[in-house]
């Protein structure tokens, strides 16, 4: 089966992809630099003594002086900026004044639990959202957009469910899930991180579902609209005319085109998902970055907050890059 438009020779395509990767990497560096600069501006704009904010309210005059020297706070703004960028380039994010440990160590410990949560949530969002969207689109197609009264109520119910799933806050969904699934039914653990392996997986189910709830609904809606549109497009009609079944035409031709925006948005969504982990991890006592940030905000642990903002921004940049490349691989028009 030929896709439209016809792709060029292999070496030309590879060159284009490589150039794209390089361009995007350069873009990612610019974004990282912007994030670092904005963080610096935030630190400079704090009305209180930034050294005091860094070392905490109980620190002595000596500690304060040490922090001032370490962050070059006694110098002019340009030197301070240079200092700040150099420290981060060395991977030195300072020390948490709540725990007295390096911020890089703390964030390193917290990154893996959050990565597991986000990957599981992403898998659920796409794994459930895409098939749901395709089925909804095929049903729309079969019943016509208005539909009869008989077929309208499941669609309306589905719409209502999607709306509720998208708008219910994580702490509500999470608490309800804990009450019903873990406490009442006793199927899964109430909260916590568990031990690696099967136990970890059991602990992961509820937080990942809570984290994914809104996303499943969102992606199902997106795929539904995309597939419905693509099914009517010329290239799908051509595929059908060449003898492909409606099912095969939908899955093999309409879906890849509809997936483009899904993947692009999944990359963008990483930022929103990261901020969503603050609530989900707190409710489920999941020892990730979100809960660490909440704790840091509540105790004004500025070095941890700054480090987490930087890490989050970098993660989103990388996520976008990956999404961009995946999209190019799926949809020939993007490659051109």
């Amino acid at each position: 089966v030929t896709r439209f438009p016809t792709p060029g020779p292999g070496h030309v395509r590879r060159g284009r992809v490589l150039g794209r990767v390089v361009r995007r990497l350069a873009g990612a560096l610019v974004v990282a630099w912007l994030v670092i600069s904005v963080t610096f501006a935030m630190l400079a704009a704090i009305p209180a003594d930034p050294a005091r904010a860094i070392v905490g309210p109980r620190a002595s005059a000596e500690t304060l002086a040490r922090a001032r020297a370490a962050y070059c706070l006694d110098r002019d703004l340009a030197t301070r900026y240079g200092c700040f960028v150099a420290r981060i380039a060395r991977g030195d994010l300072g020390e948490s004044f709540r725990e007295g440990r390096p911020v890089a160590t703390i964030l390193g410990e917290r990154a893996w639990p959050t990565a597991q949560l986000l990957l599981a949530a992403l898998a659920l969002q796409l794994g459930l959202g895409i098939p749901l969207g395709v089925f909804a689109a095929r049903r729309d197609r079969a019943t016509g957009s208005a539909g009869s009264a008989m077929s309208a109520w499941p669609a309306r119910l589905a719409d209502l469910g999607l709306l509720l799933a998208q708008s219910a806050p994580a702490f509500l969904v999470g608490t309800l899930a804990i009450y019903l699934v873990a406490y009442r039914l006793g199927w899964l653990p109430t909260s916590g991180y568990g031990t690696p392996g099967w136990d970890r997986l059991r602990h992961l189910v509820l937080p990942a579902l809570t984290q994914a709830a809104a996303g499943i609904a969102f992606y199902a809606g997106l795929v539904r609209a995309g597939v419905r549109e693509a099914i009517g497009a010329d290239f799908v009609r051509t595929a059908r005319a060449k003898g492909l079944s409606a099912r095969a035409a939908t899955w093999r031709h309409a879906l890849p085109v509809a997936l483009g925006p899904v993947i692009a948005l999944a990359g963008l969504d990483l930022g929103a998902m990261l901020s969503g982990t603050v609530l989900v991890e707190a409710v489920f006592a999941w020892p990730g970055l979100g809960r660490e940030v909440m704790m840091a905000v509540l105790s004004l642990d500025l070095p941890v907050i700054l480090g987490a903002v930087l890490l989050g921004a970098l993660a989103v940049t990388v996520g976008n890059l990956v999404a961009d490349l995946a999209r190019a691989a799926l949809d020939p028009r993007v490659r051109e």
């Binding site: 309210p57 709540r98 499941p154 916590g192 020892p287 004004l300």
Partner: protein, 554 residues
């Protein structure tokens, strides 16, 4: 528009699933865990607890919060300690506040109160079995003086030569001596009868001079009945019995598992499922529910708390610079209602000193609830039409309930209050500043159970500073300062108590706070948990608790 038929089958199926799911489970109005009937303590078992905060550090020289207080208690021994709670008599006056020797075999004080001499027990060892020597105690005290991030240096400021160590001018403290490996002598520049209480704090636990400079490691060299088995930061810390501990009667449990940062609601469900042996603090609805269940009600454990709650006013800012306004606000509050809001587990306050503490005048009656007199006082102070105020509080279930109750009472006397809610840490910072919120909720828990840890810290003129006052009412009265200074160095207990009674009366009339209440600690435990009551100083200290499960009952 398509007619909307009720989505009967799906809704029905969902409702049915939920109903079956909930009905198949036994209701939790009775505990799931059954207990035995032993009369004497049994060794063994794992006791699991959850804290809604995280554990920041195990370093005794810097750890300074509720969670570390509970976790450090079974890990580190000190020269002196407070007696463990008698679970059968938690309400006895002064329960848990009597000093007992722990690492010390005996101790004596000179007649002038300036020299303390402690002799260590011969069998005092660390968890690895190596002996504890007096030099380790000296090292720990000097470490607390020297470390810039130690919040405890001020407590040792009466030692001869302490100032020089704090300032970094001297490496060792002249007021500390170790004439032999088992003797520690402390020499003070001025008498401080609270020194024995101060030495129960965990910063005074022995630290070997050759220990790593940073004791924040995950397996510190501890000396208490339990030791750290494993710490997964942010997840849980597991303590196990110290095999070298000299007193087997002080440690019955095999393990203590302490989960970090579990939200209160989640912790309560875990407790009901039998995944935790004890649960605290309880939210008001959970406590009400437990009180209504005949099978759960006997499982509540109560203990006094060394704390005070209320509202503080910056007495330098109008309208709070007028004593009549402050007294009127005290008269306006219905403290019985406040007590009901707290589920009854509180003592109404007439001042900052909690029941059971030395120096508290139990004969002093709290301000009555008298809205008419409050209105008259406000009128006399020039506010016949009432007042508009802003009240700063922090995000906490209980603080917000208390604030709402007080605001409703104040509205009755014409004081219209807008509540401003902040996160705990910024709130704490803001109220310490002279130009911070002048009217806010107030909380205080002692560092060590002595009046100096309440009155001197919160109301002495010395405790006011522009960068941040622990005296956050900015109340300065030379008469009070004089009373507190005399009481602080008074060696005769009766005279000392009399001075504090005078100080309490002076503060009662001056009313820099709306005196609220002293909060009891309430915890619910499974029927298997024996030998436990919340400790007034250590809080959730399960060191001497034991488990009595049903399955292998005799």
């Amino acid at each position: 528009v398509v007619s909307a038929r009720p989505p009967a089958p799906v809704a029905l199926a969902a409702a049915l699933a939920i109903a079956i799911g909930t009905a198949c489970r036994p209701p939790d109005d009775v505990p799931r865990i059954r207990a035995g009937v032993r009369a004497t303590p049994r060794d063994g078992g794992t006791l699991r607890l959850a804290f809604n905060q995280g554990l920041a550090t195990l370093d005794p020289s810097v750890a300074n919060d509720d969670v570390s207080a509970a976790i450090l208690a079974p890990l580190y021994d000190t020269l002196l300690a407070f007696e463990p709670m008698d679970p059968d008599r938690p309400d006895a006056p002064g329960a848990g506040l009597r000093l007992v020797p722990q690492l010390a075999e005996r101790w004596e004080v000179s007649a002038d109160g300036l020299r303390y001499r402690f002799v260590l027990r011969a069998d005092a060892t660390y968890r690895d079995g190596t002996p504890i020597v007096a030099a380790d105690l000296r090292f720990a005290l000097e470490r607390a003086l020297r470390r810039p991030d130690s919040p405890f240096a001020a407590f040792l400021a009466d030692l001869v030569g302490a100032d020089a160590v704090i300032a970094g001018a001297a490496p060792t403290c002249a007021g500390l001596a170790t004439p032999d490996p088992r003797t520690l002598e402390l020499t003070l520049a001025r008498p401080n009868p609270a020194l024995p209480q101060i030495l129960t704090m965990k910063f005074a636990t022995p630290i070997r001079a050759d220990a790593p400079p940073d004791q924040t490691g995950d397996a510190p060299l501890t000396s208490g009945p339990f030791e750290v088995a494993r710490w997964d930061h942010g997840v849980a810390i597991t303590l196990r019995r110290n095999p070298h501990y000299r007193d087997a009667g002080r440690a019955h449990l095999d393990q203590l598992v302490l989960l970090e940062q579990v939200p209160r609601d989640t912790a309560f469900l875990m407790f009901l499922r039998g995944e935790l042996e004890a649960c605290a603090p309880l939210t008001a609805p959970d406590l009400q529910w437990l009180l209504a269940q005949p099978a759960w009600r006997p499982q509540l454990r109560r203990g006094h708390g060394m704390n005070a709650f209320g509202a503080r006013m910056n007495v330098r800012v109008p309208p709070f610079d007028d004593r009549r306004v402050r007294q009127a606000l005290n008269l306006a509050i219905d403290k019985d209602h406040l007590r009901r809001v707290l589920g009854g587990d509180a003592t109404i306050a007439h001042g900052i000193l909690p029941p059971g503490l030395l120096g508290r005048d139990d004969a002093l009656a709290p301000y009555p609830h008298d809205p008419a007199r409050a209105r008259a006082l406000l009128g006399a102070a020039g506010y016949p039409r009432g007042l508009d105020l802003t009240f700063a509080t922090f995000t906490d279930d209980e603080a917000e309930r208390v604030a709402a109750s007080m605001v409703a009472d104040l509205a009755v006397v014409g004081v219209r209050v807008r509540i401003e809610t902040m996160a705990m840490a910024p709130w704490q910072e803001a109220i310490r500043l002279p130009d911070g919120p002048p009217f806010s909720i107030a909380t205080w828990t002692e560092d060590y159970p002595d009046p100096t840890s309440f009155l001197d810290v919160r109301f002495h003129g010395r405790a006011i500073s522009a960068e941040g006052s622990s005296n956050d009412s900015f109340f300065a009265d030379p008469a009070l300062d004089d009373l507190l200074d005399r009481a602080r160095g008074e060696l005769d207990v009766d005279r000392r108590v009399a001075l504090y009674h005078q100080a309490e009366r002076l503060l009662f009339d001056a009313a820099p706070w709306i005196w609220g209440y002293h909060r009891d600690q309430v915890e619910v435990v499974q029927p298997t948990v024996r030998g436990y009551a919340p400790h007034p100083v250590w809080g959730r200290d399960f060191t001497t608790a034991w488990l009595d499960p049903a399955e292998d009952a005799p």
